[in-house]
């Protein structure tokens, strides 16, 4: 057993931590709140230059790492500062799916992702699909050599900034079938695709996508027609690891902020951290964060295992992270009192980002049910 980071990962972690600490200044945070892209181009190019994006891809795909533990290291650091950079969307989901399914003509997009020059988004959710990956009603019908897409995609994160959007659509089968789901790489300027953009509670931007007779050439198809489901599931597993590690980083920072506050905030003539009622609750928060850390390690270690094993860890981790995120968010706000309710104070952004983790890739209840069915099977 060895739970220490390798030397390379340690270096990645140290460098990234320093970079993010210097980059996420109060002024950039204020700028980001107003910005329609949802993230800072400067921070993004810095991440690319440092090799952070490359660390999320395997050597075969043009990167230099890409294992579960690399993902965990990177995203925990992003979480610590409450970073809003769309690395999950552009690199893990978009880039990951192109790596898994793309042909030689499509693969060069990954190089552009790694060097920071391209933004991607993955449009898979639909208004009625909730967290089910197989529930795809958007249709793609054959049209001569190409396809015509019609449908609506919901809460597509980073779509407003994306140069290309990966869109899932049904080429055969019924609404909830695993088979018959195809994936298309669609340029953001394709006629027939309209975006309604909006900001997110957690920072960043998303859009609703309306697809009306979007005509695509056959070269837009990623992988085999009707056979994208497995790759989508694996990409989502990696994204779940990423967001769980990010949640862990958020929890660590929130815990630090809260313990600092308990030491400095005085009421009744002493620091409120002297009240045992708060000490014990902070101790519970600490215990649960350690559980979250172990759950992330479990998932990182199993992310490339066969599907049955991997997915059990996906659901176990995401369920636990969702529950701990709720505890940490609610306790930290409560122990801060009025200050914890304010938008200006640092906690606000971190807490909102943490609580919103539950709404991506399946919430605690969804994964509880899924874990039960996987564990029984």
């Amino acid at each position: 057993m060895n739970f220490e980071l390798t030397e390379e990962r340690q270096m990645l972690q140290d460098g990234l931590r320093r970079y993010l600490r210097d980059s996420y200044t109060p002024s950039i945070r204020a700028e980001l709140k107003e910005c329609d892209r949802g993230y800072s181009r400067d921070v993004w190019s810095g991440l690319a230059e440092m090799g952070v994006i490359g660390a999320l891809f395997a050597e075969d795909d043009g990167g230099f790492a890409g294992s579960g533990f690399d993902i965990a290291v990177v995203f925990e650091e992003l979480g610590r500062v409450g970073a809003v950079d769309p690395l999950i969307d552009t690199a893990i989901l978009g880039g990951g799916l192109i790596a898994a399914l793309g042909n030689d003509a499509q693969k060069p997009v990954i190089d552009a992702v790694i060097d920071g020059s391209v933004q991607l988004a993955f449009a898979y959710g639909e208004p009625a699909s909730r967290y089910d990956l197989s529930r795809v009603e958007t249709s793609a019908t054959r049209d001569g050599d190409g396809f015509v897409l019609n449908g609506r995609k919901a809460v597509v994160i980073n779509a407003p900034a994306a140069d290309q959007i990966l869109v899932s659509a049904r080429t055969s089968g019924d609404a909830a079938d695993r088979d018959g789901i195809s994936l298309f790489l669609v340029s953001a300027s394709t006629p027939g695709m309209t975006l309604r953009s909006y900001p997110l509670v957690s920072g960043g931007q998303a859009a609703e996508l309306l697809l009306e007779d979007v005509r695509l050439g056959s070269d837009a198809l990623l992988g085999d027609e009707g056979g994208a489901f497995e790759a989508i599931t694996h990409a989502q597993a990696r994204a779940t690891l990423a967001i769980s590690a990010e949640a862990l980083g958020l929890m660590e920072s929130i815990r630090q902020l809260t313990t600092d506050y308990l030491k400095t905030r005085k009421q009744f003539g002493k620091p409120i951290g002297k009240f045992q009622a708060l000490q014990h609750r902070m101790a519970d928060v600490l215990i649960e964060i350690e559980q979250a850390r172990s759950a992330v390690i479990n998932l990182a270690g199993h992310i490339d295992h066969p599907e049955e094993i991997r997915e059990k860890h996906v659901s176990a981790t995401k369920n636990l992270i969702g529950n701990v995120a709720k505890l940490v968010t609610e306790e930290s706000i409560q122990m801060h009192g009025g200050i914890g309710m304010t938008d200006e104070y640092e906690l606000g952004h971190l807490a909102k980002r943490l609580i919103m983790v539950d709404h991506r890739f399946g919430d605690a209840i969804y994964h509880l049910e899924r874990f039960i069915s996987l564990a029984v099977a």
Partner: protein
């Protein structure tokens, strides 16, 4: 034992119900249901409608222009109001200051201020908390020094709810530094249009400027604006807090929230079935509902004791804790229920006059904002930790 309302109480309930059905504007109902931000005008419009019927101040005696209801009637009224999705009555003038003036104010103060609260001429806000005085309220530092027939007020208040709408603020100020901290506090009524008063909004995590900081820089306040005796303000403040804590259980809000949650869970599809049929989700709703059923009765037990003339004491702490935890859990489940549509930040769309339609289903729009905003329930009005301390001292005698 009889769990049911008496004939008179039922008749009263029906009367309230039909009045609300006729007089409550559909526009306001719609805003309340969708969790939209109510404007000052919305509140004023609704207050005026209730005042016309003599129902704006249910807790005030008839002699002062109130309805003179007992605790059960007030409970029924609150219940019907939330059931009908009426805007809540803004409590600062009606629920808090009014009773203090009636008990401790001078005749001149009563004659001048009480009618203005009913008519809506004055909008009051509550200036108790300060940056350094939260749970430990007795440590307020804003000073009021005598200068002839005026006080000179200097200092800062914070967390002043809806202070941006207010023209008047009632404050706890320090008039003496001698003795115990509680003994040097006075209760002062301040016109916010006086020179030297500055209000700065504080945006909360839901994106709304619901609270404010209020700064006092050499503000001259006539001595006749002091309520009761100098240095006895703590007594009046505590009396006011017992009123702040009426309807503290928020059963009506919880019932309305639960109904809304179930409606959403019926409309949302999860795995091809309505979400409400998901056993894990359903179990969480059920646990809340079971808790709420019992809490409603706990609330009625306290209410009926109060109607019989026994002032609720530490029992109100039970209601505060249980009531807020239940409401917060309903908010959390509602946020869960709307799934990925909890993520869009809806602040602008929740503003009045916004022409932006909702991003997802209309019921999803306010779910996260309300969840975040209602974290306050366990913080203000004496935090839940402070309530537990009260309980352990008063009822457990620990």
């Amino acid at each position: 034992m009889d769990l049911n309302y008496t004939h008179e109480q039922k008749a009263f309930r029906d009367e309230v119900r039909s009045y609300l059905a006729e007089e409550l504007p559909a526009r306001l109902v719609n805003k309340v249901r969708l969790g939209k931000t109510l404007t000052k005008q919305d509140h004023e419009e609704w207050h005026a409608i209730l005042n016309k019927r003599g129902w704006l101040a249910g807790n005030w005696p008839k002699a002062f222009g109130g309805a003179g209801w007992d605790a059960v009637q007030r409970h029924i009224f609150e219940d019907e109001m939330t059931r009908a999705s009426a805007p809540r009555i803004v409590p600062f003038g009606l629920g808090m200051l009014g009773p203090v003036l009636q008990k401790f104010g001078s005749k001149a103060q009563q004659d001048y201020y009480l009618p203005r609260i009913l008519s809506g001429e004055d909008w009051w806000c509550q200036g108790y908390s300060e940056p350094g005085a939260g749970s430990d309220l007795a440590s307020v530092r804003t000073t009021a020094e005598r200068d002839g027939d005026h006080y000179l007020v200097n200092g800062q208040k914070t967390w002043t709810t809806l202070g941006q709408h207010a023209n008047k603020i009632f404050c706890l100020v320090r008039t003496s530094k001698e003795g115990k901290p509680q003994e040097g506090i006075s209760f002062l009524l301040i016109d916010m249009n006086s020179p030297g008063v500055k209000v700065r909004p504080i945006v909360l995590i839901d994106g709304e400027p619901e609270v404010n900081e209020v700064f006092f820089d050499d503000v001259r306040v006539p001595v006749e604006n002091r309520v009761g005796e100098e240095n006895k303000g703590w007594t009046y403040a505590k009396y006011l807090l017992t009123h702040e804590r009426t309807n503290i259980a928020g059963v009506g809000f919880a019932n309305a929230g639960l109904a809304n949650l179930k409606r959403i869970a019926r409309l949302e599809q999860a795995n091809g079935r309505p979400l409400i049929e998901n056993p894990h989700f359903a179990a969480r709703i059920a646990r809340i509902e079971i808790d709420l059923m019992a809490m409603s009765t706990t609330n009625l037990r306290v209410v009926s004791k109060a109607a019989a003339g026994q002032a609720p004491g530490a029992e109100s702490s039970i209601l505060k804790i249980k009531g807020t935890v239940i409401r917060q859990e309903i908010n959390a489940l509602t946020r869960s229920a709307v799934g990925p549509y909890a993520m869009p930040f809806a602040s602008e769309a929740l503003e009045d006059g916004s022409n932006l339609g909702p991003v997802g289903p209309d019921y999803a729009e306010a779910a996260t904002a309300q969840y975040l905003n209602n974290r306050k329930l366990s913080i203000f009005g004496g935090s839940n930790e402070i309530q537990r301390t009260i309980l352990s001292k008063a009822l457990l005698e620990l």
